[in-house]
Amino acid sequence: MATTVDRAQSVAARAPRAGIRIDAGKLFTHLALLILVALWTFPTAGLLISSLRDKDQLAVSGWWTALTTSTSQGVTRIGTADAQLEEGGKFVIRGNVFGTDTNKQLAGFGLTNGEPAAALPGASLPMKEGGTISVSASGAFEWVNDTRFEHTRGPRIFYVAGIAPRFTLDNYIEVLTANGVGRSFINSFTVTIPATVIPILMAAFAAYALAWMRFPFRGLIVAVVVGLLVVPLQMSLIPLLSLYNGIAQTFGAEDGKTYLGIWLAHTAFGLPLAIYLLRNYMAGLPKEIMESARIDGASHFKIFTTMVLPLSFPALASFSIFQFLWVWNDLLVAMVFLGAQESKLVLTGKLVSLLGSRGNNWEILTAGAFVTIVVPLIVFFSLQRYFVRGLLAGSVK
């Protein structure tokens, strides 16, 4: 109580002098953090906004201009002589240079690549095939000639058009259906769920033994688990691949790349962290409860299944989230043990293959990337508490 009063008094005494300086410091803190958070957020924001933009706009203007009208150049081939109509002694070909696009506004048109905006909307230009053409702002054109059209190949019309801002889910529909991302999405789930579930019980039993049972070599096993936590995956790949291929040959399969193989691999790679996290957590459970249960004659098996396992729920949740995110986001293990075959690609592998084949089609890449990161983001934001707790248990200890 006394200290509270003291502090209040000292603050009151300093306030008149220091007031302005403190506010400036606070303002600086707000500003500095705001800039840092903006830096950390805007790359993802750019991706998300871009994935929702019209693909023509995305290709010609930055995502930060998404709400303004952008201009683009285009070219279209207009009708041949077959499309002509005879009206009042003149011959006419009509149509729209934008085709079926309705969100474009013509800014100018021309007949050569060098001068795509030679004439304003509504003006006329002479055509070398004969007659004159005029294009209105909506893109509708009218090509009028005194004599019958004879050409068999439609001439090209170049134009500059403004595109009104447009947001659409078309990019998503395209990547999910036409580009096989939908299939990869299912593959990712197929890999991730079993690889997350399988190690839990195994690790929990081992963790309990290492935390609460006394037996020779316990210290050594703990040390091995801690050591395995940081062993580079690269050390495992070649021998395991040979092993898998050997087993596949024995059974007459063409290669060792199966879902079963990758589930077991991920299970094993997740075990050191699982055992370490769970053991730390279980070791922190109150000793008195364990001992009194022992004295009452409960076996280790009973203590584990009825008391420790339910009490360890937060640690189990932490590990499950880690394992889920790690398996979902993994590229290396999937490429090695599942292969690059189109029908078996997981989302990360699919994204890499899109980067190679569609490297400049940002509408495909942005939407594809967002599909791959949306599931971990949902898991992450809804279960952040457990995730943070697991991180703290895994490294501060």
Binding site: L36, T190, I198, P232, Q234, A268, V336, W362, P376
Partner: protein
């Protein structure tokens, strides 16, 4: 369509079998142990004690068996085997002594990869830890600090490949004449400078790739350091404030020394991530334009050239780089064990 249903069904079956198998193993062995080594009224005292001891000697190993089996097959055996293979030829059949290592130390790509890995090791952990620390300190003083922390933490959930696409979009280059849709080039042209194909400019492209990992790992550093900062006793800060220390003095002279141990842990954890970094380079450049790193080089020798000997020798180099941290971790864990 049918193969998708088959695949999903297979996954469900696998979960059921795996869980069922685990349950059956643990309950089954426990039951067997109690049944065949149980006490009965007719036994003498000596026999009962002997059986009790035997049971308590066997039980821990039953608890550990499946985990130990997996760890042995998937981690311990491969580590030994990779060491062995690094002394063998392409196919792993003929012993070639140190020739893989001799080749490796004379290889230009390896030099490039080692140089880049060292650069990564210096830059990424230091920047991620520094940014994490600054953000943790700033956020803990503001009412919207938790929202800020969530947003900075978010990249932790994104895959390295997803992050690569996000940043490739930032670094995108579209030729001098057309409008730039990458933020970096838009900024550069806004300042009146010519746009660049950033990813193809040696040295700076490596830095740009490192920024991706810094962007991901800062959230990790921030969360751990933020928790450590909360453990700094309020009295020491208050005392410093009363003595008239300003914010910077408090930060450098009081906070940092008190959380030094945690800073080291964060640093080493990120160091391990950096040593293994593969996805970012594989997705962005595949080692072109002087961006090669060890993990990507190893992947090339393993899966492009199918040379298991050379691939193994590169893996061993990565392993040796990790080794000091591994030993330090084990000693730390052992020390903790002693206090328990």
């Amino acid at each position: 369509m049918t193969d998708i249903i088959e695949q999903v069904f297979g996954a469900i079956v696998a979960i059921v079998i795996a869980l069922g198998g685990c349950v059956a193993f643990f309950w089954g062995t426990n039951w067997l142990l109690d049944k065949f080594l149980s006490d009965s009224a007719t036994d003498s005292g000596d026999t009962m004690t002997r059986r009790d001891t035997l049971r308590s000697q066997i039980r821990p190993w039953l608890f550990l068996a499946p985990a130990l089996l997996f760890l042995s097959v998937y981690l311990i055996y491969p580590v030994i085997e990779t060491f062995r293979l690094s002394f063998f030829d392409k196919t792993g059949r003929d012993f070639v002594g140190f020739s893989n290592y001799v080749w490796l130390f004379g290889d230009g790509n390896f030099h490039q990869a080692v140089f880049n890995n060292i650069l990564w090791l210096i830059i990424v952990p230091s920047l991620a830890t520094a940014f994490g620390l600054v953000i943790a300190v700033l956020a803990d003083r503001l009412w919207w600090g938790n929202i800020a922390k969530s947003l900075v933490f978010m990249p932790m959930a994104i895959s390295f490949v997803g992050a690569s696409v996000i940043w490739k979009f930032v670094y995108d280059y579209r030729g001098d004449a057309s409008e730039q849709i990458g933020v970096l080039n838009a900024l550069v042209t806004f300042m009146g400078l010519p746009p660049q194909a950033w990813i193809t400019i040696p040295f700076w492209n490596s830095i740009l790739l490192m920024i991706i990992l810094v962007w991901i790992q800062t959230g990790f550093a921030m969360v751990i350091l933020s928790a450590a900062l909360r453990g700094v006793p309020e009295e020491t800060l208050e005392a410093a404030r009363i003595d008239g220390a300003n914010g910077f003095r408090i930060f450098f002279d009081i906070m940092i020394p008190q959380i030094w141990g945690t800073i080291v842990v964060v640093w080493t954890t990120i160091t391990i991530v950096v040593l293994k970094v593969f996805d970012i380079i594989f997705a962005m450049t595949n080692g072109q334009w002087d961006t090669e790193v060890l993990a990507n080089l190893m992947f090339k020798w393993m899966f492009v050239n199918f040379d298991y000997g050379r691939g193994s020798s590169i893996a061993v180099v990565i392993m040796l780089a990790v080794l000091p941290i591994m030993i330090w971790n084990i000693r730390r864990a052992n020390a903790e064990e002693g206090t328990r």
